[in-house]
């Protein structure tokens, strides 16, 4: 692998003038087309086609459509590997040479970045940096909004220097991840089976749904859902749900254990498919869920709602990081790719799946006015809403769960987190699952 690497970075020799001109023109044309002219010397263009960047991440954003479009717009090859969250964490830390671009979540970043597998990115090279949604820079959606609890992306978004692995308190020149995709999560319900309005996180433990509730069994995320429930019940007031004390962890999990022993839960799920199957088979009628899983249940013709709740949302975000070993031409290609990522096409693609993109202005240019109004402004669809692959997602007249972007992201109560007491929490979580 390192062999092919050195050959790609070596200057190309024996290239005819004609093919050189052709190649340069094609790449330059594509770059103009995608609005990604960054002023690199043209010598670049001859070699860039030989470059392969290897990206891995969760299935949420590691889409072949993106790799195809990269080839088309930028000329180099992007290899995508989609893994589950656990595998992503492991690979990021234990096999740092096996990837060039890491597509990881912010709460995982808190674990991964200090391990030294990634290199900070120079903000000066990110063209649309000042257009990135402020949540990722200052933590606030609008200047007035409160900063949510948990591992908020801006707290792990910057490091102190070029070679530092220490997170900075305020924005610096060096960014850890470029935000790509994020969303606000809530409970999924079967409206036909719950038989009443669901308005609060406490409904997860409502005895009326005994044996019909489910929670996800990824401790770092599941504990946050549990905390949302306990806080909504008024049983616990947390200092910071995303960084609990031992007592808070004990109390939260004792409430959940009690519910488990009383038979509240039907199952705990770990993968996307499991949550879809639990819901569509009717084994479970209320559970923590991810928005594409809700869409997948609905795609089977089974009613399923991603229910906004009065206490707010539990949010998550992911971003692209550059592996430490990347340098030279490949590093330039990685920056080029990241600039392209924020230039709108991917943003529109993600927005059309119900997620949010990091730079909204550019995404808007790639969406129709009606699409923008439906996905981002919470307005009823004027025409049928199609998925990025062209499949029918919502009929005309439908309104998106949870309303507009500002309504959803403005009501984030906490972010997925890694706590200081992580090790203790995981032990207690395992006790809860085994109870």
């Amino acid at each position: 692998m390192s062999d092919s690497r050195t050959t790609t970075t070596a200057p190309a020799t024996g290239l005819s003038r004609r093919s050189l001109l052709k190649g340069t023109a094609a790449v330059a044309g594509a770059a103009v087309g995608s609005g990604a002219i960054t002023g690199f010397p043209t010598i670049w263009a001859q070699n860039i086609k030989n470059i392969t960047l290897r990206q891995f991440g969760t299935g949420v954003s590691n889409l072949n459509a993106v790799a195809d479009k990269v080839k088309e717009d930028l000329g180099f090859t992007l290899q995508m590997t989609a893994l589950d969250s656990d595998a992503v964490t492991q690979r990021a830390v234990t096999q740092p040479k096996s990837y060039d671009i890491a597509d990881i979540e912010y709460w995982i970043c808190k674990k991964v970045f200090p391990a030294g597998a990634l290199q900070p990115m120079d903000v000066g090279k990110i063209k649309n940096f000042d257009k990135i949604v402020p949540i990722f820079v200052t933590g606030k959606l609008t200047p007035e909004s409160a900063i949510a609890q948990g591992t908020a992306p801006h707290t792990v978004g910057f490091v102190e220097g070029k070679d530092s692995v220490k997170f900075a308190k305020a924005p610096t020149q060096w960014m850890t991840l470029i935000p790509t995709i994020y969303n606000a999560d809530t409970l999924g319900i079967r409206p036909d089976l719950v038989g009443r309005a669901i308005t609060s996180w406490t409904d997860l433990l409502d005895p009326a749904f005994k044996g019909k509730a489910s929670l996800l069994n990824i401790p770092s995320i599941g504990i946050m859902d549990a905390a949302m429930v306990c806080e909504a019940m008024g049983a616990i007031t947390y200092g910071d749900k995303g960084n609990m004390t031992k007592e808070e962890i004990d109390k939260t999990l004792s409430i959940m254990t009690e519910a488990k022993k009383a038979g509240q839960f039907r199952a705990f799920w770990k993968t996307f498919d499991e949550s879809v199957n639990l819901m569509s088979s009717g084994e479970v009628i209320i559970q923590s869920m991810w928005s594409p899983a809700v869409a997948a249940v609905r795609a089977k013709g089974i009613p399923c709602v991603y229910q906004p709740l009065k206490e707010g949302y539990r949010a998550w975000g992911g971003g692209l990081g550059i592996a430490k070993h990347l340098s030279g031409l490949e590093l330039e290609a990685a920056y080029e790719y990241i600039n392209w990522y924020l230039s709108g096409w991917v943003g529109a693609y993600l927005n059309r799946q119900g997620y949010y993109s990091a730079v909204l202005d550019t995404a808007k240019q790639h969406m129709s006015a009606d699409e923008w109004a439906f996905w981002m402004e919470g307005q009823p669809a004027k025409t049928d809403i199609l998925s990025p692959e062209g499949k029918l997602m919502e009929k005309a007249g439908a309104v998106r769960d949870g309303g507009s972007f500002a309504d959803r992201m403005g009501r984030v109560a906490c972010w997925n987190a890694v706590m200081d007491e992580d090790r203790y929490m995981v032990r207690k979580w395992n006790e809860f699952i085994a109870a």
Partner: protein
């Protein structure tokens, strides 16, 4: 290893003591024959296990593992009530699965070995038993889920037959479904060795017992069962070790509601707590080895084969 055994050969052949060459080769031959497997086992079994044992003493935080010698991984593991509870539930699964697969396996093997007279039919029926193995373990396991579910085939069948009014909740995501899946997956591992042992029993012994006035039950208990013991022991080792190490069956069939040792280790690995997982694995290995040793004490396989 191969170096030390191979190096004397050319010198012996070329040197003055040329007569030792042909004499040495036959003595070395068995070792050379065993060498490839020994090398493979050393490289892919012993070295990883020693690594796991070493890592189990290392320290870790949420980001990295640190080479060290600490006992916290073991003390945290062994003093936690969860560990004991999990071992108890894993042992419960192992015991239940062993007992049920033992009875079913023995019965099926007995039928094949003593009731089916023609060898052709024995083979045909035996191959029939292996048909389920043409699909993957996980597929066969997952197919129970829609069958046993709240709105599954079994429940809707029972309801429409008027036997029950409410769906039976215990059918899925319970200990029942876990053990059911284990029995389904592992019974053949019991049938094969038991059948094999039974086929080796000299039929004259049974005739002699019958001539001596023994009844069917007496023959079964005093002749067939003792002679089948090695097969039962081998089958038991298969079933018990498989159940003790399993994590995916327990997770899928209990709906994540029950724990097993394998699941505990899988969780720890997914959270990058490698030293804790290693400690857990070492303890599990010790427990399983003790169980196997206990079984081998009851039945001396080498003597009986």
């Amino acid at each position: 290893m191969t170096d030390t055994t191979a190096s004397p050969r050319p010198s012996a052949a070329a040197g003055p003591a040329a007569r030792r060459g042909p004499a040495l080769l036959p003595r070395l031959a068995p070792y050379l024959q065993a060498a490839p497997l020994t090398a493979v086992l050393l490289l892919f079994l012993l070295v990883p296990i020693l690594t796991i044992a070493a890592v189990s003493f290392w320290d870790y935080d949420s980001v990295r593992i640190y080479p060290d010698f600490v006992l916290t991984n073991y003390t945290e593991l062994l003093t936690s009530p969860v560990t004991w509870k999990t071992y108890l539930s894993t042992l419960k699964y192992a015991a239940l699965t062993w007992a049920i697969t033992g009875v079913i396996g023995f019965t099926v093997a007995y039928f094949l070995a003593f009731h089916v007279r023609s060898t052709t039919w024995q083979m045909v029926l035996f191959l029939l038993c292996t048909i389920p193995f043409w699909t993957s373990n996980i597929i066969r396991m997952i197919s129970w889920i829609p069958f046993l579910g709240r709105n599954g085939l079994l429940n809707s069948g029972l309801i429409s037959a008027g036997i029950i009014d409410q769906p039976l909740e215990f059918l899925l995501f319970s200990d029942f479904s876990v053990v059911l899946a284990f029995v389904h997956l592992y019974t053949l591992f019991m049938v094969v060795p038991v059948f094999n042992s039974m086929m080796r029993i000299d039929r004259a012994l049974i005739e002699a017992a019958r001539d001596g006035g023994a009844g069917g039950a007496q023959i079964l208990w005093n002749v067939i069962l003792p002679l089948t013991k090695p097969g039962i022991a081998i089958g038991s080792i298969f079933v018990v070790t498989l159940v003790m190490g399993d994590f995916i069956t327990v997770r899928l069939m209990s709906g994540g509601q029950s724990a097993s040792i394998g699941l505990m280790i899988a969780n720890e690995i997914s959270l990058l707590q490698y030293p804790a997982a290693a400690a857990n694995a070492v303890v599990l290995l010790a427990v399983v080895l003790l169980m196997v040793a206990a079984m081998l004490r009851i039945v001396d396989i080498r003597k009986e084969l």
